[in-house]
């Protein structure tokens, strides 16, 4: 076996530039694919995390009749005594934070400009609201603030608002009417997602309840767990009478689906790119086979069997693959690691299908996907070389020797 690799190594050395170039093609393909995989994974991971952190939480407990699409604050759809329910949930071991939230629809206007927003009443004391505490300027609202509001940076920009500035907020109330009040901007936050930040304003829960007429009600108990994989188990343990309990998987079914789909998509891209690099390898080996017709004839004449000739060429392909894939995965890993640090800036990517995207994407390479890619690249390369190898093994010695003269 060693001898095959020794011969293969020397054969590759005969056309060093050609070998290096085809190894490089494989290396570039591998590096590119590794980066693409890291990029997709980073995107999916951060979008899932962002969506959970900002929007859905790990579990939501809602009134049995609640319809998340309507943002209605009619009492029928809301949870009564939410503080009590939240406190009860927070006593569970696996729960990191549970906090009531009230969601209503409204319109912010400043002079002639206006913008439709989601109004979210939050408990300023809860750690679940930490993502909103990344303030560009000003302070977060306090629980008993009656005139203060916190808004996102892109909304403040577009309406020309600064901390201390005033805006008029219109709200759809519990009894189906509209109310309005002037609020003072206390703080301007950024969550990292422009798309999300431009569509939401925060009020202290008590003020939101009073303003909307929801009184002692909330739209949901927003629950974060210590480990999100526990969601199903915890959800099962929660009081379900009169409530609907939803896990993040149910709340983001589309996102989970897209995630699965993106894995299939990556596999598909892998096959295409590796298919292309495989043809480069096939081409290199075919050239070697034709150049070495005479040699193959000699080897056959002195008793080398077809299987052994195949092994010889497979050894050559394996060495090429080893070099190319090793080099490529190192480069791909380095590239991913570098951008995982600095991120890749995309700006406002919008929110689609409830999937919140950060403005910056951080590639994230999992060991799984790296190994997967390395193994696939290796196997495809070696499989591709079967064709030239078989061709070599089938040469009739007479013709092979003739081809030489």
């Amino acid at each position: 076996m060693m001898n095959y690799f020794k011969m293969a190594y020397r054969n590759l050395g005969r056309h060093r530039r050609r070998s290096v170039l085809s190894g490089l093609a494989l290396a570039m393909g591998t590096a590119l694919l590794m980066f693409v995989a890291a990029f997709f994974q980073g995107e999916m991971r951060s979008s899932l995390e962002t969506t959970l952190r900002l929007n859905t939480g790990h579990i939501q407990v809602r009134d049995a009749d609640y319809d998340p699409d309507k943002l209605s604050v009619a009492w029928d759809y809301l949870i009564e005594n939410p503080d009590q329910v939240a406190a009860q949930i927070e006593t569970l071991d696996q729960v990191q934070a549970a906090t009531p939230r009230l969601l209503a629809s409204g319109i912010v206007s400043v002079r002639d400009d206006s913008s439709g927003v989601e109004i979210m009443g939050v408990d300023p004391a809860s750690s679940a609201n930490d993502p909103y505490r990344h303030l560009v300027s000003g302070d977060f609202v306090t629980a008993d603030d009656r005139e203060g509001i916190v808004i996102g940076y892109p909304l403040a920009e577009s309406l020309g608002l600064k901390v201390g500035g005033q805006l008029t907020l219109l709200i759809n109330t519990s009894d189906g009417n509209v109310d309005e009040q002037v609020f003072t901007v206390r703080g301007i936050f950024t969550t990292g997602s422009t798309a999300y930040d431009k569509g939401i304003v925060l009020l202290p829960l008590a003020k939101a309840q009073a303003f909307s007429g929801a009184e002692n009600h909330a739209s949901m108990i927003f629950v974060l767990l210590k480990d999100r994989e526990q969601a199903e188990a915890v959800a099962a343990a929660m009081p379900s009478q009169n409530f609907q309990v939803k896990t993040w998987r149910e709340l983001n079914s589309l996102l989970v689906l897209i995630n699965d789909f993106s894995n299939a998509y990556i596999t598909f891209i892998n096959l295409i790119v590796l298919g292309v690099t495989a043809t480069v390898i096939i081409n290199t080996l075919l050239m070697s086979v034709f150049e070495r017709t005479r040699e193959i004839g000699i080897l056959t004449a002195i008793g080398m069997k077809g299987r052994q000739i195949i092994t010889l060429f497979l050894a050559e392909a394996s060495l090429l693959a080893l070099g190319g894939v090793t080099f490529g995965s190192l480069a791909g890993w380095a590239l991913s690691a570098y951008f995982a640090k600095v991120g890749i800036y995309f700006g406002d990517l919008g929110i689609s299908q409830g999937m919140i995207l950060d403005d910056r994407i951080y590639p994230y390479l999992t060991l799984d996907s790296a190994i997967n890619l390395i193994v696939t690249a290796f196997i495809i390369t070696v499989l591709a070389s079967l064709y030239p190898a078989r061709l070599a093994s089938r040469m009739e010695p007479v013709e092979a020797l003739h081809g030489a003269k």
């Binding site: 001898n3 011969m7 020397r10 054969n11 050395g13 005969r14 005479r294 040699e295 000699i298 080897l299 056959t300 004449a301 002195i302 008793g303 080398m304 069997k305 077809g306 299987r307 052994q308 009739e396 010695p397 007479v398 020797l401 030489a404 003269k405």
Partner: protein, 230 residues
Amino acid sequence: MEVAKLTDVTRVYKIGEVETRALNGVSITIGDGEFTSLVGPSGSGKTTLLQLIGCLDQPTSGKVIIDGKETTNLNRNQRANLRKGTIGFVFQFFALIPTLTAYENVEMPLLLNGKNSTERKQRVLELLKAVDMSERAHHRPDQLSGGQQQRVAVARALATNPKLILADEPTANLDTENGEQVMEIMKRLNKETGTTFVFATHDPRVIKYATRVVTLRDGVIEKDNHTPAK
């Protein structure tokens, strides 16, 4: 005892519509220990005959028996097996593997025959000595002269102690001195080991070493002369 026995062998090459009868009903027996020359004009069928004896090719019709074995129905692998134990080849072009050193070239058939490393080493050194190439054992073919390459090729052909060595114009690309040297070596090995040699050649210097001269013309044997051994 005979090493090879061909009976009524015909080989027709077909390229498109054109048929060439390279051999036309040749019967010949090669006895053990012979040092035989195949001569004849270009295109008379010498190479074709060697290839059939060497199981590199199969006849269109007729029977080829090598070392007592009928070869006509063997598949590729079986023929390769027969070759590697029984037959050695020396070609006109110095058919060494360019990536391997002289030593490794001679070692190759031993590897293919599954010899262990001590056996191999001993045999390779012995053979290189026999062809006077010990000093250049670790040179690549492109670092050797034509005569030196051909001597390595002879050593390789002898490596597995084959019964029969087939050489197709072994001296054609060598000058007089190197040609003589290669022939001397082969003759000596023929005497010492009893290995059978068959050459195809135009070279009178080769013919003078032969104990038997077979003349081909247009694919048939025209003359078959046994000459006294020198």
